[in-house]
Symmetry: D2
Subunit: 288 residues, 4 copies
């Protein structure tokens, strides 16, 4: 896969932003591969993602701090009050997976990673159970058990935090991790923790959503991948999908059908995150 | 369409029920066209729908009170404590449509009715607005305006009730009827009022669900058809469906996309009800 | 709905095209509302759609021939060898519907048109049968019967062609029009005739696709809307969708389920065409 | 999972069949858990699947040859000219997986098998490549390479046939096995070889269907699982599904999206086959 650079911008909506950004890339020798933008009328926000081929780009992108790029782009950013970020597909983000006992999402992510579907590195898997060590070993990913109880939440989160730093992780994926993270922890990683909830949010928030769905007698069940925020199951939704169920489906059938949904929905969200295609505005996401 | 008889049974689960019912139909000369049954483990309930060709049936089905059939079937029904009902496709149920200003579901139902998709009669349309008179006229269905205000709910519901009786309606369809019916009214027509709610229930209960969905940033929107019960938007779900939306969709787009969903979901629920394919158990439905 | 201008461009892929076009719009006072582009690697083609608010645009867009705009845009167009077109949402394209006896797509289009979903005018409906006159009358659209037989194809197509000219139609929609148009006729209206085929093309090309689907025992049936070209059912696909079927569905059920699909798929294609969102490359479409 | 017995019947449609079969099960002490039947009007065929709890069944079902059951059921079977089969969920069918290099379906089936989703045994994996040995080892399933070339088809098929016999396999799954089996081989295993084809059949029969789909510009891609028959990609369809694609998807994206489809579609077909839910009539399937 050839290298590409991705410029992500979010700022107040104003005339000339597309032209200015496109011109900047062009003037410096970049060839635009994809350009997506969205103006949100409600919030008056402008969001843009420009992916370009940096082969002939005349600013230095190899420098980790992007000093050269920043120097030239800052005047534009300042003028339009832009939040911006430049990502490069050659830089593989580092993802730590947290998992409990249910292994279907973990197994799925590891397989997709190995088959090249996810352009990220997985330096570590963290679990509160030893059960999933064998599959981690099979894919040669280090696996650490951080035991978590009611009484040691603070300590275990401190340990997880420390592992994140040691392994220089860019983001976390909760692949059916059955511990509720503290607000303190969550707030350290804004838009950097991806969760999979096994319902079509905002329906069936909280525990045992398949049982709730069964009791309510819905005709479709869903799964939702979202960024984790302080409010339970209320973070910005990245992706959702549903599957049809009927009276013939027991709770166990719902759980089985749901597994397939969860895998697909979570993996899409992770891939889009890795490809720098997800932008936030308010509590919502744009997926370009 | 040839005539068929449909025997609907609901009773405590017990051995021999399928055999006994099938044998009863067979012994009296009926040819089973479809047989569906479901045993619900949780409630210990057995539900069955048997559709048979009554051409050579030796019990009289022309009698409105089904005296002959009852006499012969009662011993079985008593033995297994069955709730049962015999419907005949030659008997077209009578449906009254209630509608406010939004006409998409009304227009859709009238078209489907005229094209033969719905085997029911529509003796009347009731509305709290005169706006939809022309389309009713086009399809030659009587249209009555029952004006409804905060202060005359009791009177207007009495008027509706009276119209139902005069027109011998078997069931009501709320085709985007924007008045909340009183508990008194609702309780008179158990499993006989079908509503369309413009969200994937139980998400976005209550008013302006598309606006709620827009604000929450969901990636799919839904529609739900259900029987009306005392608790708002909580009745047994007959059918649901969803459609994908994105950041590019405004609230107006959600409303437009939702219209297509609402039409399809409501019309399915009405058709299944008309074809005697919906059975209740607890607050849930089986659709055979 | 406020006015917007839509610039559609197709040309060989080259560096600087996004920047040049965005800059042109910006320099002349246009505010970009949406910008979409696609570079097709196989064909080396670049496609772009820019929708902008022309309120402060300094070039005259009221002139039917766009002389002013052309004069200023031509140098850019020439440089990049662009095919281009400027549409304005204030200009409602004129659509003639052709229909035979099946009325579901016609009824659906007329309802959507009346409810404001389709920003086009319908000067005329043409049919080879008188049956659908009443619904045309209801919506106050002129309806002309052009009888078509094996022997008068040339004459009837001449008559249709003449009606298109008299009514200054921009495009035609075949809403289950059961006559195969001659190559001569089709070639006069490239990318201007939209058809709905009642299968998931390229499966079940030709006559009676639901019967073919039934015989083959597929588990999903589909519908396809496409531009009409010389080769039967082979034109560029605009939209497709499917619905699940089972052994319980007879051919009649397939036809009924298919009607819902056909309506939705055709109306999406028509809406996208009307909103100038469909671009061609080779035998394929981009829908922006 | 508790044991259940499944009686599968296929015969000319006649009055009294449901009653007779239900009565037989009941009379011998079986408790019917599910009963499904279908009368196909075209072929005049009656198909039934009765699943019953054999706890109190008074005929011996432990005998491999079902002598006792046969003796009692034969008079009924003869009277109605039934093809019949009695399966028991306690008997886990033996499935051999054939695979080439693409491993996604294999990995998926092995995971589902291990997690208890597929009630079958996998005595062996056969491949024409050594590549997938490690995942087979991880799940502790024997893996045999049967090298296949143009010149040794007869020998390699003989070897596969011999392995099937040695391992007493009940059916074969072609999990992206890229060798076309000879008619001789296929005819030995009617309704016992399940294939996954990576298109929505009958569209894109034959090689490289994703490339065909890309070239045709379809808006949905599909996958089809079917029993293998002599005619390529023409066997009875068990399951199909589709996913939406757009101009932004390259052939590689189609292949990636298709993998998810193939996994889900094949695993459903395998599960239904294992659960004795698939019946054939002509070239079509009923899935009860």
């Amino acid at each position: 896969m050839k290298n590409s650079a991705i410029l992500l911008v979010s700022c107040p909506d104003a005339k000339g932003e597309v032209a200015t950004i496109a011109d900047f890339v062009y003037r410096h020798g970049g060839n635009i591969l994809h350009a997506d933008e969205h103006a949100d009328e409600e919030s008056g926000l402008f969001l843009m993602r420009v992916e370009f081929d940096p082969k002939d780009f005349d600013l230095d992108l190899t420098d980790k701090h992007l000093t050269d790029f920043s120097k030239h782009f800052s005047p534009i950013a300042d003028k339009f009050r832009m939040n911006w970020r430049l990502a490069q597909s050659s830089h593989r983000p580092r993802m730590i997976i947290l998992v409990s006992k249910y292994d279907h999402c973990l197994v799925d992510l590891l397989y997709r990673h190995q088959s090249g579907e996810l352009s990220c590195d997985i330096p570590l898997i963290i679990s509160n159970h030893p059960d999933n060590q064998p599959i981690a070993d099979f894919y040669k990913i280090p696996y650490v058990v951080v035991s978590t109880t009611r009484d040691n939440k603070r300590e275990s989160e401190a340990q997880i935090h420390s592992l994140i730093q040691v392994h220089q992780a860019d983001f976390l994926v909760l692949a059916r991790y059955m511990q509720v993270l503290s607000n303190d922890f969550v707030n350290r990683y804004p838009q950097r923790i991806i969760n999979i909830h096994h319902s079509f949010l905002p329906a069936f928030i909280g525990a045992r959503p398949y049982h709730q769905a069964f009791t309510r007698g819905v005709k479709l069940i869903g799964a939702t991948s979202h960024y984790v925020t302080e409010v339970l199951d209320d973070g910005p939704i990245i992706e959702q999908d549903v599957v049809r169920v009927s009276h013939r489906d027991t709770v166990e059938d719902l759980i089985r059908k749901g597994r397939d949904l969860e895998k697909v929905v979570l993996s899409r969200a992770v891939r889009w995150h890795v490809e720098n295609r997800v932008l936030l505005y308010g509590n919502k996401t744009v997926v370009f």
